[in-house]
Amino acid sequence: MVELQNVSVTYSSGVDALNNVSLKINDGDFAFVVGSSGAGKSTMIKLLLKEIDATSGVVTVNGYNLGKLKKKKIPEFRRTLGFVFQDFRLIPSMTVYENIAFVLRVIDAPLKYIRKRVPYVISLVGLHSKTNSYPDELSGGEKQRVAIARALVNDPQLIIADEPTGNIDPELSYEIVELLKGINDQGTTILMVTHEHDLVRHFGGRIINITGGEIVFDEVISGVDEVLPEEELAQAMAEASAAANTGNIVLPDQRIMTPDGGYSGADRNGGSEQ
């Protein structure tokens, strides 16, 4: 569970990164966090990782009040989370197996358990044949699968995915989100930060739009479940790319949501209002 109560973050430079943000993500939820660059998404991630502290307000993650969390307790808190980063952050000198097993080593898990659990999560992300490969020998999509397996191996309550599809081919992005959705179906809370609006539109679910350090939109929308035909996918991607530059989101009902929370668009191809 993630809860932000009237949270503000002001950096020493005087920049207000988050302004009185309140938010609650319940156990088992899947939430997309969207917003343009500089909107405050990264600050929110840093807060949730306890990399920085809130200037005011209360941040609670998995039952830990992060404002009151002592430095010594940070490792214990982070073990309840799983992280997936845009740049994968795999240890280059370790194999796929070692990168994943490392998380269990950190918590001093029995060797027997590690030998059983790691191959299991590797097979979950479909990388059984790459067990002994090094990160350099993997494609972007495969690296992100390893990162997801690493986030998953510890059976965390919450997985925070920061632009997990940002460094991989667009068609693989769907697979990655599908994978995260599958993990969410097993009960793990997922918080995914993304720029890729077509993904959001496709999968739907809870969408939180941060703009100018404030939450301007927080609603559940239904996604387009069926796989889009090739040409529609290309169009959606083009729109998403254009939208990414403006901070707009094309919602599944074809309305265009602007960064300030307003709706400026009209139906596309005769789509109906929901």
Binding site: L49, S93, V106
Partner: protein
């Protein structure tokens, strides 16, 4: 932490040496050079000290007894001298020997001795060497205090000169050793910092997955310690070879070099255990601590 956990981390440390072999080699070289610089300076200092002490030991006290002292009393005085503080050796010089020595010294005036048919006028005496040249004046005075001792003389100027020489050499040597140690620490610190900096991302990943500081530091500690140990071993073998070669060359020199106290250079066999221990312990410690301290900047994530 369980034993298996420590074993894993120790193995990680050793594996890291191989995985980051270029940086490990750079650290090894810097540690090796640093140990050789400081070790060489220290050995040079110890030998200078030993040489000066050796020269000091050549400084002796000439003791002359009253010529009327009887043989039994001479023996008593010798025994008394031998038990005195700061006495290294006592050599008895009989009247006859003293007479012959004098005869040899005044070779051109040998004719004088034709008129002296007895050596009875010569005093019995002792050649006394001391343990500490620094206290030679006190010892001389103490010997002079014995009733039958007609004169006890030494050369306090030599003692004073050697004392001063030792003081100056000590100050210079310690300054050089301290300076070299500081330079070495800076070199080692920069190298380990570079080595750790290259792996800062790895450290950050470890922090994100909930690794404690000790979990992150242990492999770095082991890695630094093993690298330092090998650097210490390398420094020992280089020192062993160079020291023995220099020792042999100096010992082959004639008496001229011995006059400068070269005879007092410490043979390597006598100090090899201490040199090895110092190199290995200091190498391992500096390597381990340098490595761990360098992680501090990146560990606070």
């Amino acid at each position: 932490m369980k034993i298996s956990g420590f074993k894993y981390l120790a193995n990680q440390g050793i594996e890291n040496i191989w995985k980051n072999k270029m940086m490990a080699f750079a650290t090894f070289c810097v540690l090796l050079i640093s140990l050789l610089l400081v070790g060489g300076a220290a050995l040079f200092y110890f030998n200078m000290n030993s040489m000066i002490l050796g020269l000091g030991n050549q400084n002796e006290i000439a003791v002359y007894l009253d010529p009327s002292t009887g043989t039994a009393r001479v023996q008593e005085i010798q025994a008394q001298l031998e038990t005195m503080d700061n006495i290294d050796s006592v050599e008895y010089i009989s009247k006859e020997e003293a007479y012959n020595r004098m005869k040899n010294q005044i070779q051109q005036g040998e004719a004088i001795f034709d008129y002296i048919d007895s050596y009875e006028f010569m005093p019995d005496g002792f050649k006394v060497t001391v343990v500490s040249n620094d206290r030679i004046e006190d010892t001389t005075a103490q010997i002079g205090g014995i009733e039958e001792v007609q004169s006890a003389s030494s050369s306090p100027q030599v003692a004073e000169f050697l004392r001063e020489l030792r003081r100056v050499v000590s100050i210079i040597a310690i300054a050089v050793i301290v300076a070299l140690s500081v330079v070495s620490m800076i070199m080692i610190s920069n190298t380990t910092k570079a080595s750790v900096f290259a792996r800062r991302e790895e450290i950050q990943i470890m922090k994100y997955v909930g690794a404690t500081n000790s979990f992150i530091r242990t492999p770095f500690f082991v890695e630094g310690m093993v690298t330092g140990f090998f650097a210490g071993a390398g420094a020992f073998f280089i020192t062993w070879a160079v020291y023995r070669a220099i020792f042999r060359i100096l010992m082959e020199q004639g008496t001229l070099m011995r006059a400068f106290g070269v005879g007092s250079i410490i043979p390597f066999d006598k100090i090899q255990l201490w040199v090895a221990l110092a190199y290995l312990v200091i190498g391992s410690l500096v390597g381990a601590l340098g490595s761990v301290v360098s992680t501090r900047r990146h560990i606070d994530v």
